[in-house]
């Protein structure tokens, strides 16, 4: 599609859809193509293009994208936006975990996600268009009450295993998938390990020292050290 000159700040892109200008054009093209199925989109400068689509039209979106040249299936997975009740098993100030004693229901915190999101689980898929050198990351909010979505197996055969993995790791169902048996875990395994509320038992048994192994620099030395490092940095060329 677009034949924009590549952004000067970017490396010269081969094919379109590269560089921010190319991605911008790609975004408008895909929004036109998919119409109302696109809920939101996000373009991170110099990085990637995110599209959030309606979960109900997941399969249609994949089919249309395939028709638009995005015929390379990158991967499919999910994100659990719940705040893990156990935190990150690290006794640090950065740890955003909730206290066990609070007894509050796990909160969903998807404020940091690109292209937004409303539900706990968000499906994530990446497609490439090799002929155009373009790539797009597609997201869809999986309904909380019934985490089930259509399978992409018929559109991209490669999605078969990725859906099996997502099913066992997150407990998301895929209607139309003939064989949602575990791919990695033993058949008798209970639970969905990549859900945030699935405890990492090894860490319960033996607490992880986490970041305490990073030695604190005494405060009175910090400024001094930093100045020394900076001087060396500048002397050696300063990141040009």
């Amino acid at each position: 599609m677009s034949d924009e000159a590549p952004d000067n700040d970017e490396q010269v892109a081969i094919g379109s859809g590269q560089g921010d200008a190319g991605r911008e054009a790609l975004r408008s093209e895909l929004e036109d193509l998919l119409g109302a199925a696109v809920v939101d989109s996000h373009l991170q400068e110099g990085q990637n293009l995110w599209l959030r689509v309606e979960a109900g039209r997941w399969q249609d979106v994949a089919r249309s994208l395939k028709g638009a040249g995005f015929n390379y299936f990158g991967f499919l997975s999910a994100i659990d936006w719940t705040v893990a009740p156990e935190g990150r098993y690290e006794d640090t100030e950065f740890d955003a975990g909730l206290d066990d004693e609070d007894g509050e229901p796990v909160a969903i915190d998807n404020t940091t996600g690109h292209a937004g999101g409303d539900t706990r689980f968000q499906l994530l898929m990446q497609l490439h268009a090799p002929a155009r050198g373009a790539a797009v990351l597609v997201k869809a909010d999986v309904p909380d009450d019934a985490p089930v979505i259509d399978t992409l197996r018929d559109v991209f055969p490669g999605a078969d295993w990725h859906e099996r993995e997502t099913h066992e790791m997150f407990g998301i169902g895929f209607t139309g998938h003939p064989q949602l048996v575990p791919i990695y875990l033993p058949t008798e395994f209970e639970g969905h390990p990549l859900r945030k509320d699935f405890p990492l038992l090894a860490r319960h048994v033996k607490p992880w020292p986490g970041v305490v192994d990073i030695e604190e620099i005494p405060e009175h030395l910090e400024a001094e050290l930093e100045a020394a490092v900076m001087a060396e940095f500048e002397a050696s060329g300063g990141g040009e």
Partner: protein, 390 residues
Amino acid sequence: MTATSDQAQRAYVAAQAADARVNVELDTGDMTLNIGPQHPATHGTLRIACQLDGEQVIMAEPIMGYMHRGYEKLCEVRTYPQCTTLINRIDWLGSFANEVPFILAAEQLMEVEAPPRAQWIRTILFELSRIANLALFLGDMGVQVGALTPVFFAFRDRERVLNQIEAATGGRFHPNFDRIGGLKDDLPKGWIDETRAVMAKMRGFCDEMEDLLVGNEIFQTRCRGVGVIPADVALGYGLSGANLRASGVDWDLRRDANPGLAWNEIDWRVWTHPDGDSFARYWVRLQETREATYMVEKLLDGLPGGPIMAKVPRIIKVPAGEAYVSTENPLGEMGYYVVSKGDLGPFRVKIRTPSFNNISIVPWVMKGVYVPDVITILGSLYFILGDIDR
């Protein structure tokens, strides 16, 4: 049929039973053959459950998970620098190449850029790990089809590359050398000249493999036309790397989606092959190995000076956001989808490994082949078990 009498009916049933017995006796039932979990051709513990009719495979289904280590979950409870230690172990033959996309993703989130010298050295080490990884494939493919000798040459010559990686990073297999914002150290003295010498040796190795295997009639008979994957099927399954390029798709992430390493600064070529069979996959990898040796030499020629570390805080805290960076690893597209919430460690890491997709085509491609072809195809698809199971 209508039974005229009790007796006639009984006779009819008896005849049918006799017929059925004959059929049962003549019926050659399918045999289930489990290739693996312990099998020399699976490079680890992959199991392929095959339904055989004689020697012909009716259905092949890979069963994995014997080595699933749950890296995605483990990354969630580690800091970013700790994660690189883990992800080193995904594709253990090309470890340094595993670190790069993850570090690049973290750098994207932090909006840090490594200085040029660091980028160039990263690219050099990346290509060295590609050579080390693919060299083993080039020899191992011979073993898969029954030639014992090439793999010994591969081990012998790969050692030279590993020595160079060790000299630069301190680790032969798991360097853990890449840092957010640059590299741990600069190159040691004399390394550049040694590496040039090694690259010349590796080209000799490639020539040797060309003589021993590519030109060998038996190797060609065993590989040509075996496991043909058309381009559209390969794309649909998400095959990447040489497997895709051997199907005629001219697509290399190093050229087409360079995340900032030095590949665009030098002149090199993406090799493709139109056939899509096992031989094409071998051939493409052979050319890629040779190309990589030239690339390393060109990168060494143009290696810029300057620092090797950008200024990053001592305690790395990555700002909130999402990033996906994938690079063209020895095995194919390896990508890390990193979700950060501003913690010391990632909130979620999705590791997109090439072998997982590459092996997912096995049930499709192994219909109707013979048992020896199963091994040939597995060998030519080239997977590392850690890369499938993560």
